[in-house]
Amino acid sequence: YPLNGAAKEEDLDDLDFPQRYLEYYYNLGKDTKQVYRSKDNGPVIKKTQEMQKFLGLEVTGKLDLDTLEMMRKPRCGVPDVGQ
């Protein structure tokens, strides 16, 4: 994330947004909580790749700007995978 000025509360919330997105729409297990802030993020990379493939993005496993932009788009509340 570009470090431009003090993080606003919303920005702090933002740090969890990708995690919540993958949990809700791509069945990321809740036990991988806060994994973005730890080294071992295998399951998240896998889920991120799954999401990128489903949404037609380049599959990098990384939360690049394109991916984040796609995740922020308005969408249907039904999950994309799982039930």
Binding site: V78, D80, Q83
Partner: protein, 378 residues
């Protein structure tokens, strides 16, 4: 396309829906119309048909809500999740919930209700999200530049037809209830040279040909007419109608049988009907009419019975003085009993038995004679 785990689907072709509440963003009629249009998207490519309920439990209950709204899947304020829906099944299954923190609009200036409704109804019918970015069932919302160009993608069509099959294409195979009706009558054949009609009317650009319990539906973008039971669209309407006409400025089709008439708006029978035909100003001695047609340009409606006709002024909402008059006097060439009349491309088409007369009201003469079933690709 994908379906839900276990491929839940409706075990019947005719489904009911109910709009439980409304968003303040749009007039009620706009919400009604958006939902109707969204249902029609799926109706036109499958065997499914829909009719509306105003109370009680419908198959598909449609509502607007914000945040936590009782199904453990709270909405999240403006943006992000716009709506969600449940796969086919009893109770809350099949239902559609719209996030009323969105700005719902008829165009694409906000979140287009028709587009989101069509997507969510895909879920209600059993379709899961598709990874085809062109598909309506793709999970991310994207507003089309020109909504009039909206089309289902082939992926969507393949998906819904994998669950319910394509619409009936042959005029001889109507969508009929699975249990046979004790009053089973012969099914009329479109290309029977002796075919005549009970009533013919336009309806939002389509033309409906009523016969016994059935109707042919002529869509201008589809050469092959569809064949349905009248009750598929309007369960409360009788069969063997006398007359039908559309007043386009009111988006209403009026249906006549005996001394009663109904008003339809899309698939909805308007409250307060049937009414007596005498409320229109027809004399008490008239207990039924043969045919009727409303002239879109002149805002006049013609009622035909026997060899006479009356004329109703739609602007003044009253029958005109000086009627009845003889049909033959004002429509030279039109003689014999009129079964039905429809206006199309400025001509009146008079149906009498298996013969159809094209009448030019400006030239006041019959310009062509066709078979009555010429509209049905025979």
């Amino acid at each position: 396309f994908h379906d839900f785990l276990g491929t839940p689907k409706w075990r019947k072709n005719h489904l009911t829906y109910r709009i439980v509440n409304y968003t303040q963003d749009l007039p009620r009629e706009a919400v009604d119309s958006a939902i109707e249009k969204a249902l029609r998207v799926w109706e036109e490519v499958s065997t499914l048909t829909f009719s509306r309920m105003h109370e009680g439990e419908a198959d598909i209950m449609i509502s607007f809500a914000v945040r936590e709204h009782g199904d453990f899947y709270p909405f999240d304020g403006p943006g992000k999740s716009l709506a969600h829906a449940y796969p086919p099944g009893p109770g809350f299954y099949g239902d559609v919930h719209f996030d009323d923190d969105e700005k719902w609009t008829e165009d694409t200036s906000g979140t287009n209700l028709f587009l989101v409704a069509a997507h969510e109804l895909g879920h209600s019918l059993g379709l899961f999200h598709s990874d085809d970015p062109e598909a309506l069932m793709y999970p991310l919302y994207s507003s089309f530049r020109d909504l009039t160009q909206f089309r289902l993608s082939q992926d969507d069509v393949d998906g819904i037809q994998s669950l319910y099959g394509p619409p009936p294409t042959s005029p001889d195979t109507p969508v009929v209830p699975t249990e046979s009706s004790p009053l089973e009558s012969k099914i009329p054949a479109a290309c029977d040279p002796a075919l005549s009609f009970d009533a013919v009317s336009t309806l939002r650009g389509e033309i409906l040909f009523f016969k016994d319990r059935y109707l042919w539906r002529k869509l201008h973008w589809k050469p092959q007419p569809e064949f349905h039971l009248i009750s598929t669209f309007w369960p409360s309407l009788p069969s063997d109608l006398d007359a039908a006409y559309e007043v386009i400025s009111k988006d209403t089709v009026f249906i006549f049988k005996g001394n009663k008439f109904w008003a339809l708006r899309g698939s909805e029978v308007q409250a307060g009907y049937p009414k007596s035909i005498h409320t229109l100003g027809l004399p008490p001695a008239i207990q039924k009419i043969d045919a009727a047609v409303s002239d879109k340009e002149k805002k006049k409606t013609y009622f035909f019975t026997g060899d006479k006709y009356w004329r109703f002024d739609e602007k003044r909402q009253s029958m005109e003085q000086g009627f009845p008059r003889l049909i033959a006097d004002d429509f030279p060439g039109v003689d014999g009993k009129v079964d039905a009349v429809v206006q199309s491309f400025g001509f009146f088409y008079f149906f009498s038995g298996s013969t159809q007369l094209e009448f030019d009201p400006n030239a006041r003469m019959v310009t062509h004679i066709f078979k009555s079933n010429s509209w049905l690709l025979c």
